[in-house]
């Protein structure tokens, strides 16, 4: 083993280490106590803080005797049941030593023997989607059922003893939930977002001292949006803000901020990411829960976005000021206006991924040839596309690219009635969209666009269809009752894996078929080839296999790969970041290339380098590869400078995309000659690295000169 190669040395770390016997025994004592069910610190906490049981409320409580929650059943223990009384402890009514509200009224929460509910376990049961240790990005929802003797407004607080270590370390995680309580059972949605794999016990209390009656904490089926609508729901474009006397504006050039509020849920862009949070609005008060953000690496970061995040966390009130929306709090103020939506010209005919649409403009309206496809705002990222239309008399081809974040695309004006021709992206998911031409102001407009499954039985895999099948315990075996359905899209068609009658099945377009996947399989790609739906899988048998999903035939075609793609009937395998192989689905090696430690791609057939999706992957994500692409043409293959060099590019790149598809390009004197399938020769004025090194960062398309010969 080389002592000079830390990467190789890393493998040596994986060996047992003896623990001092005294410490081992000490840890075992705690583990054994847990094993034997001895009271842990957390249960002691619960006993100290558990609200008192009070009153003969059995009659009304009986209505809540059973609360069915998702896949599980929660049994509410009526107050006259001795088992409950025996586990209830009276809390002092006049003082609090731990900062908790004084004298919570009568509350019984859940059915755990100490009166508390393991909400996460319930979520696990109810939704089947949460697993211990899983990272949470979105809020989950529980429901509180209150059987209250009188009507009125009450506030609910949820406390989370996160670490189970400090009896007084009780943290309100979302403490401003309000409900108008009517007599009798009532429900209020309480949203929270656990962020740790520990079993966490939540208690719900009525801190206002009222006689709230009995309450059960249960868990509904999985929801991602909670709370209720308010008069402030909608989209609000941020215009200006003040933080501690410092004014800042909307970082339009680096990612305009639009705050979306929808039934208690809010989101806004943070540079190229999306921040999501729960929004609590009541009677002019404003508050937000933790902000959960996507974690993409952004090409640029703006101070304004950072200030906006800081400010919105401190906002406490919400109000209208004329046409403006104003959030304010100590030292902060944020102002918003309603965004002006472009004209809606109408609804396009029902379409599918990959289809061509013709846009007609009866009034000869002038327009640009660049369009965007935008999704309605939702949790997570909004996938969008940038399209270029083909119009008569204008030098432009219909094309599209996926887009995240800001972009710059050269546009030209078109007039006349059209039709302009656009192609719906292959990878678009079915759903409702808006096709807009927002970049030719003031004549901006949109069409409603409805994308539905294609009728053609041809699938083109998108870059988002990789799934990993593993069970909750990480043993890489799929267990029927733990396997949640995993959905992905193939050519806009929703496809999902799931369990049915103890078999792994594939559901697509209303069909259910059993597939020959095995425990531990990692599904790498699915595509149609020669009218067969084929999956590429790898697993711990150190092989990559092609599985015919219709016949169930499984064939090993090459070594295990960390990534693999099906492309034009060929399996492209990436091997431990050190090489690429193209293999036929029968297993034969077609060609290979290696990537050495300096991240250089060295072809097995000098003179021809195939950069396909793997090449894109590296080139797009690592500046070193961009540099390499530039120098490779000069240095690597022959060691001397070349004026021309033949290589193959299989574009498109994902994200940063050149829309041309060069089947076999040649670089001559700084000009990339790019033959097209139809025989045309497109020339691209490029400098070394320009094609992939976009000046404004990821997601921005660089302006380039182009000329058709």
């Amino acid at each position: 083993m080389s002592e000079h190669d830390p990467i190789r040395l890393l493998a040596s770390l994986d060996r047992p280490v003896s623990m001092p016997s005294g410490l081992a025994a000490e840890i075992w004592a705690d583990v054994e106590a847990e094993l034997m069910g001895s009271p842990s610190v957390s249960t002691q906490i619960d006993r100290k803080e558990r609200p008192p049981w009070k009153g003969p409320l059995a009659a009304t409580a009986a209505a809540l005797a059973v609360l069915v929650v998702g896949l599980g059943t929660w049994v509410f223990l009526a107050p006259d049941q001795p088992t409950v009384a025996s586990t209830t402890t009276t809390v002092p009514t006049t003082s609090s030593t731990n900062g908790l509200p004084v004298a919570p009224p009568d509350v019984v929460v859940g059915t755990a023997e100490d009166g508390f509910v393991d909400v996460l376990a319930a979520l696990d049961q109810a939704s089947g989607r949460w697993q211990p240790g899983e990272d949470f990005r979105y809020a989950y929802q529980v429901s509180v059922v209150c059987d209250c003797p009188d009507a009125g407004t009450r506030w609910v607080r949820i406390f989370d003893d996160i670490q189970e270590a400090d009896p007084w370390d009780v943290i309100p995680i979302f403490s401003r939930i309000r409900t108008d309580v009517e007599t009798g059972p009532d429900r209020v949605d309480v949203a929270f977002s656990p962020d740790d794999g520990h079993p966490i016990y939540y208690s719900v209390q009525w801190p206002d001292g009222s006689d709230a009656g009995d309450m059960v904490l249960g868990v509904d089926e999985f929801h991602e949006i909670a709370l209720t609508a308010s008069e402030f729901d909608g989209e609000w474009r941020f215009t200006s803000g003040i933080v501690d006397g410092n004014e800042f504006g909307n970082p339009v050039s680096d990612g305009a901020i639009t705050l979306s509020i929808n039934e208690g849920f809010g989101d806004f862009p943070i540079d190229c990411n999306t921040g999501s949070m729960l929004v609590d609005i009541f009677d002019g008060s404003f508050g937000i829960g933790p902000i959960f953000s996507t974690a993409a690496g952004c090409g640029t970061y703006s101070d304004e976005a950072e200030q906006f995040v800081a400010a919105i966390k401190r906002a406490e009130t919400i109000r209208h000021d004329g046409s403006e929306l104003v959030l304010s709090g100590p030292g902060v103020e944020l102002r918003f206006v309603e965004p002006q939506l472009p004209d809606l010209l109408g609804e396009l005919p029902l379409t599918a991924a990959g289809e061509t649409l013709l846009l007609e403009f009866p009034n000869g309206r002038s327009r640009g040839l660049v369009y965007t496809i935008e999704t309605s705002r939702q949790l997570g990222e909004s996938v969008r596309y940038v399209l270029t239309a083909e119009a008569e008399g204008v030098d432009s081809d219909a094309s599209w690219t996926e887009w995240y974040g800001e972009f710059e695309v050269p546009d030209v004006q078109a007039t006349g009635t059209g039709p302009d021709r656009i192609v719906i992206p292959d990878t678009i998911q079915n759903g409702d969209y808006r096709l807009c031409s927002p970049y030719w102001e003031p004549d901006t407009f949109c069409f409603d666009l409805l994308v539905r499954p294609a009728s053609a039985p041809w699938f083109v895999t998108a870059g988002v269809d990789g799934v990993i099948l593993h069970d909750a315990d990480g043993t890489s075996s799929v267990i029927a009752n733990e396997a949640a359905d995993i959905a992905f899209y193939v050519d806009g068609l929703l496809v999902s894996w799931g369990m049915q009658d103890d078999a792994i099945v594939l559901r697509r377009d209303g069909q259910v078929s059993e597939v020959a996947l095995q425990s531990g399989d990692i599904l790498l790609d699915v595509a149609h080839t020669d009218d067969r739906l084929v999956a590429l899988v790898t697993n711990r048998s150190n092989a990559t296999s092609a599985v015919d999903l219709d016949s169930g035939e499984r064939r090993e075609i090459g070594p295990a790969s960390t990534e693999a793609r099906l492309q034009d009937g060929v399996a492209l395998l990436s091997l431990s970041e050190t090489g690429l192989e193209a293999r036929s689905l029968e297993g034969g090696l077609l060609w290979e290339a290696t990537i050495d430690a300096e991240t250089m791609i060295v072809p097995s057939d000098p003179g021809v380098v195939r950069l396909d999706r793997f090449g894109d992957l590296y080139i797009d994500s690592d500046p070193a590869f961009r540099q390499f692409l530039e120098t490779r043409l000069v240095d690597v293959l022959t060691g001397e400078e070349l004026d021309s060099f033949e290589y193959e590019l299989a574009i498109p790149l994902e994200g940063d995309q050149i829309t041309e598809r060069c089947l076999r390009a040649e670089l001559q004197d700084g000009v990339l000659l790019c033959p097209q399938p139809d025989g045309r020769l497109v020339t691209l004025q490029v400098e070394g690295g320009d094609m992939l090194d976009f000046p404004a960062g990821r997601g921005r398309i660089a302006t380039y000169a182009r000329q058709d010969d």
Binding site: I7, L10, I27, E34, L35, T475, E654
Partner: protein, 172 residues
Amino acid sequence: MSESGPVTDGSLLDPISFKDFYDRALPVIYGYFFKRVGGSHALAADLTQETFISAVRTLQRGARVDSPMPWIVTIARRRLVDHIRSGSGTGRTVVRDAPPEDLSTSAAEARLTAALGMLSADHRLALILRYVDDLAVAEVANHLGRSLRATESILARARAALSAAYDEVADV
């Protein structure tokens, strides 16, 4: 009890059986953490304890365990990921306290452990999952909550950062 043989819920929940399993798994889990948290003995011990308690609670909730050792290593990995991602493990300072007396490490290992401790949380986690735990890049991406593309990028930068830190440690 066979390490790889199936174990029923009941047998593993039995204190005697679990103690047997504990004795076999303890050095594995402790070793797992010790080398991955920058050589901190105390932190490794804490995470080890949390792992076993979490395992017990999972069993008590009725989880079925077919392969106990991979199962508890998976729990340990999640604890490690949680620990690093929670920010507790984001420091770039080499944290090493007195190792157990019987812990013998080569100079190269000690140097590597120290270098790992100097990396950012994302870089350290990515390298550990990829090269120590030998996970596929797709699985690493899953743990990191990143795309494959972003994970490849992180791994590339992490390798460079580790090499630099490794050299830096040698210079000290």
